[in-house]
């Protein structure tokens, strides 16, 4: 009995130091994981920015440069295949003949008019004697055929094609001299240089492989952080009988919560991806394909979402931004601090109404952010409505031009934030059971 009373005084300190050391190591590990996660998510954001820049619809479908080759092909195709059919030829020839005959009639009528001057009379005489209008008329069909042949001449058509192309190249040139275009081009070149590639395809290949490796790594770090938290909770389970260590353990647990919160707020939590899946059609006999035209492709953290909403001009969006800010930053920080204050501060502090509310009741409101993102995800991210409907009707939709946001995905930051909310709720339940103060 004596031993039992004496030992705790000495053992308490040792145990406490051991506990702090163990948790300290864990905390450092968690901090490292969080830091790496944060870094990777920033890198990922940058890469996505570059990717959407390079694959943006402005440089694809909306760029005259992209159409240059396609138009050349189309013109070529049209020039070589544009043939006047024999039936059309006949009609046109008939028309030309009519005009020629009318002209001959007119000329004849003019010549046959009574002339007053001597030279006029001589003219009339000469023409009447030397020119046989019937033989001219007989030559009309041959003339008409020649004229039509001239129109249908491949050389002329090529000339026409060159003219059309020249006109188009002029437009392309104008675009390439446009200041905005020049600036964009410089940026593209810089991006290519930065990633050590020379073409769009190479860049896309490289970026998507980097993205997938980053994705994997972030998930590893994310799981690392989660396992740290689980270990902390395991500590609680094993030490549930050691009331003397609870305060220390609780304060250490709060530090873990702070790290989770910081990472959860700053790491990207949702990736929004809107693109036109494919444009696939035949234009004047040429197959034109544009695939994956990116309209919008970004990763956003909670703080970014808040920034977007607050920068809107509409007052209601700003309000929502402020609410998210309150639920995701203000509430959690105040909550964590007030749980600390409740435990460490005196009775007067601990039983203060505000402190008590924040320590025990406020936790679930951070879930509002989680819910917002979840609903957004269900509405935007998983919007396969059209594809599903078409599939239900057994219609192949591979080559249809469909606006899709299907690749929108949740990111590790979201998981971390959910963990923070749940962890916070668990902590306040734990606090309720270990606090010496009144909680109701």
């Amino acid at each position: 009995m004596e031993k039992l009373i004496n030992k705790p005084a000495k053992g308490k300190l040792i145990y406490r130091i051991l506990l702090i050391l163990a948790l300290g190591v864990l905390l450092v590990a968690e901090g490292f994981f969080g830091f790496r996660l944060h870094e990777l998510s920033e890198k990922q954001e940058q890469i996505k920015h570059d990717y959407s820049r390079v694959n943006n619809i402005t440089y694809g479908l909306f760029s005259v440069q992209q159409w240059k080759d396609k138009v050349a092909d189309i013109v070529h195709h049209q020039v070589s295949s544009l043939k006047i059919t024999s039936k059309q030829k006949k009609i046109l020839q008939g028309e030309v003949e009519q005009v020629l005959l009318a002209l001959i009639d007119k000329a004849e009528a003019l010549v046959n008019k009574p002339k007053k001057t001597i030279s006029g009379k001589i003219q009339k005489f000469a023409i009447k004697n030397f020119v046989n209008s019937d033989s001219i008329r007989a030559q009309v069909p041959a003339f008409a055929r020649k004229i039509i042949a001239e129109i249908d001449n491949p050389k002329n058509k090529k000339q026409l094609g060159r003219m059309a192309l020249g006109e188009f190249n002029e437009i392309a040139k104008e675009e390439s001299q446009d200041t905005a275009f020049v600036a964009n081009n410089a940026i593209l070149k810089k991006i290519y240089h930065q990633y050590n590639v020379s073409s769009n395809q190479q860049l896309n290949l490289k970026l998507s492989s980097t993205l997938s490796s980053i994705r994997q790594q972030t998930y590893y770090y994310c799981f690392g952080m989660l396992s740290c938290v689980i270990v902390v909770l395991a500590f609680w389970w094993f030490l549930r009988k050691r009331r003397d260590l609870h305060t220390t353990l609780f304060i250490m647990s709060l530090l873990f919560a702070f790290i989770l919160l910081a990472v959860g707020l700053t790491a990207s939590m949702i990736e929004v991806d809107a693109r036109i899946r494919s444009l696939d059609f035949v234009l004047l006999g040429e197959h034109v394909v544009f695939s994956d035209q990116v309209l919008f492709f970004q990763s956003k953290s909670i703080l970014d979402v808040v920034r977007v909403l607050i920068s809107q001009s509409a007052i209601d969006s700003v309000l929502v931004g402020v609410l998210i800010l309150a639920f995701s930053i203000l509430f959690p920080v105040v909550k964590l601090t007030s749980t600390g204050v409740h435990l460490l501060g005196g009775k007067r502090w601990a039983e203060n109404g505000i402190i008590r509310y924040f320590a025990f009741q406020s936790g679930k409101w951070s879930m509002a952010d989680v819910i917002v993102i979840a609903i957004l995800m269900a509405y935007i991210g998983l919007n396969g409505l059209l594809e599903n409907q078409l599939r239900a009707l057994n219609i192949n939709n591979d080559s249809l031009t469909i606006l899709t946001t299907n690749n929108t995905a949740l990111q590790p930051g979201y998981i971390i934030f959910i963990c923070f909310v749940l962890y916070g709720l668990i902590l306040s339940t734990i606090l309720k059971s270990i606090t010496p103060h009144d909680v109701h």
């Binding site: 059309q88 609410l323 819910i371």
Partner: protein
């Protein structure tokens, strides 16, 4: 579970004898009737909400932008119709004819000048010199130039005669059709099969009839669902009023509370299963000026989605990605299962039954789990999502609005909160009232004996 609770009501009626027995029996009967009415209204409301959702989904399918502005075939049809009309209706008016004649005259004068220059340039050979002399003597250049207008008039009249215009037009139209036939994508057959399916479903045979049917149906559904929603809330309000008036009769309080829980259950069930937010972004009109005519695309649905809380959870859980599944499960737990459990626990707590074992556990469910019951957070979350999404959509869509002479685009954002959301709000409010009533009963009765 509800049967169990009804059992409880039964036992309580038998246990409490006395003068107020018949009064409380009448009250309970009346409340049960109201309950059945509310349940019926809720059921009909939900069915209507789903019908509305399906109709709107079909409408958005048949009016999807993929089958309109994004369809090369549609553009091809519209453009060739305009060009065809232009070519067929092509006729030269007087001033155009005069212009044409002038043009021809200019050409002829040029030709004459060229011929004259050919003859009059300095010649070398004797024969050529003689020719030049003859030309100079006999040909009066001025006279030839004077004849040009009459020749050109002949050409113009000949070319523009109705007969030859008709022939030329047929050549042009043939050529245009050839070009059009070379421009296509695969949307045409998709459009026709989609239209075929949808028209068959709604028993109509063209787009205008479909629009008319859909609008009529939607209008009818809207009116009816308002009525049912009001009916449901009215039943609940009457029940609460009865409660307020008769709360002095303590002996029937427990049964009354259980019935109120059943009302809450109905509200919760309808609230989580009816659509809450409808997102609908459209290009209302796109007008494109071509050859003095306007190509018009109407009502192009860019994006449509309408989901209930259960639908949202379902979509998340169906995802292949584990994080989405996790979120779906959490939402299911906090927004649907826990509120349900709490309703049941409250019923058990009030009726002091020993059926489900430990009353401590029941107390924990009924009182302490409030922190984990996130129906109220869900309400705030839905409202925030709606406002935020609406704001972002509005600003994005207004960026698409264009109004120039050649191109005019008008977008609309028809996103709206649905009645299901308000039912869910009603559940949360009702739940708060119930909690305070439960607290009062608990304080009066003390823990179960």
């Amino acid at each position: 579970m509800s049967e169990l609770q009804k059992d409880n009501i039964g036992t309580h009626n038998q246990i409490k004898p006395g003068r107020s027995g018949s009064a409380s029996f009448i009250l309970i009967a009346a409340l049960s009737l109201l309950l059945v009415a509310a349940a019926y209204c809720g059921y009909r409301f939900r069915a209507l909400a789903y019908e509305q959702k399906h109709i709107k989904e079909d409408y958005s399918l048949s009016n999807n932008i993929t089958f309109g502005i994004f369809s090369v075939d549609r553009w091809g049809d519209k453009i060739s119709a305009v060009v065809d009309r232009r070519v067929k209706g092509f006729n030269l008016n007087k001033s155009q004819k005069a212009d044409m004649q002038q043009e021809v005259e200019k050409q002829l004068h040029g030709m004459v000048n060229k011929a004259v220059a050919e003859f009059t340039r300095p010649q070398k050979g004797l024969g050529a010199k003689l020719k030049k002399l003859a030309f100079n003597t006999f040909v009066d250049v001025k006279e030839i130039h004077a004849m040009v207008p009459s020749f050109s008039r002949t050409i113009v009249t000949k070319v523009t005669s109705p007969k030859s215009l008709k022939k030329l037009k047929s050549v042009a139209v043939g050529k245009l059709n050839e070009l059009e036939a070379q421009t296509y994508d695969l949307s045409d057959q998709t459009i026709s099969s989609v239209e075929h399916n949808i028209y068959q479903k709604y028993k109509v045979n063209n787009a205008t009839a479909f629009d008319k049917t859909v609008n009529a149906k939607l209008k009818q559904i809207k009116g009816l669902s308002y009525q049912y929603a009001i009916g449901m809330t009215a039943c609940i309000l009457i029940a609460l009023l009865l409660w307020l008036i008769l709360r002095r009769r303590v002996d029937s309080e427990v049964s009354l509370f259980v019935i109120s829980l059943l009302f809450a259950f109905i509200l919760l069930a309808v609230g989580v299963s009816s659509p809450i937010i409808e997102v609908d972004a459209r290009i209302k009109t796109l007008e494109f000026a071509l050859l003095g005519e306007k190509l018009v695309f109407n009502n192009q649905v860019l994006f449509f989605q309408s989901q209930s809380i259960l639908g949202i959870i379902g979509t998340l859980v169906e995802q292949p990605k584990p994080d989405a599944v996790l979120v779906g499960v959490l939402l299911m737990l906090f927004v649907v299962i826990l509120p349900l459990l709490r309703l049941i626990a409250r019923g058990l707590q009030v009726s002091c039954t020993e059926l489900l074992g430990d009353s401590k556990f029941i107390r924990f469910l009924a009182f302490d789990l409030g922190k984990w019951d996130m129906a109220d957070v869900m309400v705030v979350g839905i409202a925030m999502t709606y406002i935020g999404l609406n704001g972002i959509l509005k600003s994005q869509l207004s960026g698409l609005n264009i109004d120039t002479e050649a191109l005019k685009v008008v977008t609309v954002n028809n996103s709206a909160l649905q009645l299901g959301f308000f039912i869910f709000v009603a559940y949360v409010a009702y739940n708060i009232i119930l909690s305070s009533i439960l607290k009062r009963i608990d304080e009066q009765n003390g823990p179960c004996n």
